[in-house]
Amino acid sequence: MPHVATPQQTQRELTVLFVGSPSVDLQAACDSECTRPVDIDVVTDGRAAIQRLTATGDPSASRTRPDLVLLQCDFELPDGMTVLHAIKSSPRLRATPVVVLDPDDTDSEGTYRTGGNAHVSTPDTTEDYVDLVRSITRFWFEWAQYPAESLYSDT
């Protein structure tokens, strides 16, 4: 029975990298809503995202290889699509799920063509926003068959 999660694995803190400027306190929202401990790491633009995902020095730093990336395309140079391409072309990160949050509700085709796992509109109200983040993390961490555990277990 190779795929049964041990209690230890269940307890492992998951890391979400949020790129962009969230309109709510994501960590607080997640602490009260998520069923597993989730560390939300917020960087506000693409350059900071690339720097964060560039693993230098400590190879075990989980923040350089998050379990899920939320990419809110509200920044420029490198823009959201560049960051998405960088992640999806990287031999190290390409299995990491990336959900694009689109404030302008525009180019979903670009997201999927570049390898994004989902494209959703950024909600207008705080309540909807929290709801969305909760749904996304629940989907990826509870329902979806998830690459993280098996891929990362030997590193």
Partner: protein
């Protein structure tokens, strides 16, 4: 008598002249010698010996004599003492060279194994430099270009084999792009190009080779050829060659006592020694490459 028979008798399908030409060209060194002399105003014996890597003096002498007999090449004594001889192509030699070239073209078109595409990504914010570097490489490689760090990221994928990377670019710098490439497990060799003087900051950078602007065409091409070869080497050997290049560069720029007191330099030196000690892994590389890499190391 049928028409075919009479036709065959008049002009044989394979005339002796064709057999003679093919026989001449099928000798290993004959076409090579003609190619060597083509477009030159003559070559000496030792020039030819060097260019035809692997030919013995005896074999070369015989081949030269035979080509002289056919009046394909001409031998002229330039000086008596010491004896210096110059070989040139005759007019009929030049004609033969054209034939050989056509044969080579035909072979390339129809016989060559389809090569896997070799992709070079050229990144520089100076348009002129980008155009120039691209022009030097595009005959032999598929070249992608980028004019800043962001565009470099957008053009980066696992098809890319070598990146020619400007160190200073606006936005994401060459250094940041290099760190990204290294951290993402790409099998990509990087040559860093810069207009600045070599400084100690390069100790931290994971490039494979380093060129200072202005870069010459032959220089860039040689480095790219070398880096594509290196992709086949073990990661240990790649690291070794990269370190050799980096430390050699610094030794050329800085006095020994500056380097010897620099901690990171010391660490890289010991790493280099360590890799050298486990040198059994370097059998895959030919001696020439190692020799080239060792240029600049202490005697």
């Amino acid at each position: 008598m049928s028409m075919t028979d009479s036709h065959a008798r008049e002009t044989p399908v394979v005339p002796d002249s064709l057999l003679d030409s093919v026989s001449l060209l099928s000798k290993k060194w004959h076409p090579a010698l003609v190619r060597c002399l083509s477009g030159t105003d003559g070559q000496g014996f030792s020039d030819l010996e060097r260019r035809l890597d692997g030919v013995s003096a005896k074999v070369l002498t015989d081949a030269l004599e035979e080509l002289q007999e056919y009046e394909i090449i001409e031998r002229r004594e330039v000086s008596q003492s010491p004896l210096r001889v110059n070989y040139t192509l005759t007019e009929r030699g030049e004609e033969l060279d054209d034939v050989i070239e056509s044969l080579a073209d035909w072979g390339e078109t129809h016989l060559a194994e389809p090569e896997t595409e070799q992709v070079v990504l050229v990144a520089d914010d100076n348009k002129r430099v980008n155009t120039m570097h691209t022009a030097w490489l595009e005959d032999d490689y598929t070249v992608r270009t980028a004019s800043d760090g962001e565009e470099t990221l957008r053009n980066l994928d696992t098809d890319v084999g070598v990146v020619v990377l400007d160190r200073r670019m606006p936005g994401l710098s060459g250094g940041e792009v290099l760190d990204w490439i290294r951290s993402q497990w790409y099998d990509i060799r990087v040559v860093m190009v810069t207009s600045e003087d070599v400084d100690l900051d390069i100790l931290d950078m994971g490039f494979d080779e380093y060129l200072t602007k202005p870069v010459r065409g032959d220089e860039l091409r040689a480095v790219v050829v070398d880096l594509f070869e290196r992709r086949a080497y073990s990661s240990q050997l790649q690291e070794y060659l990269g370190l050799q290049s980096k430390l050699g560069l610094l030794r050329a720029e800085y006095p020994d006592d500056t380097l010897e007191t620099h901690e990171l330099y010391q660490r890289l030196r010991s790493r280099l020694d360590e890799l050298e000690a486990s040198g059994g892994t370097f059998e895959e590389v030919d001696a020439e490459t190692l020799e080239r890499a060792a240029v600049g190391s202490p005697q």
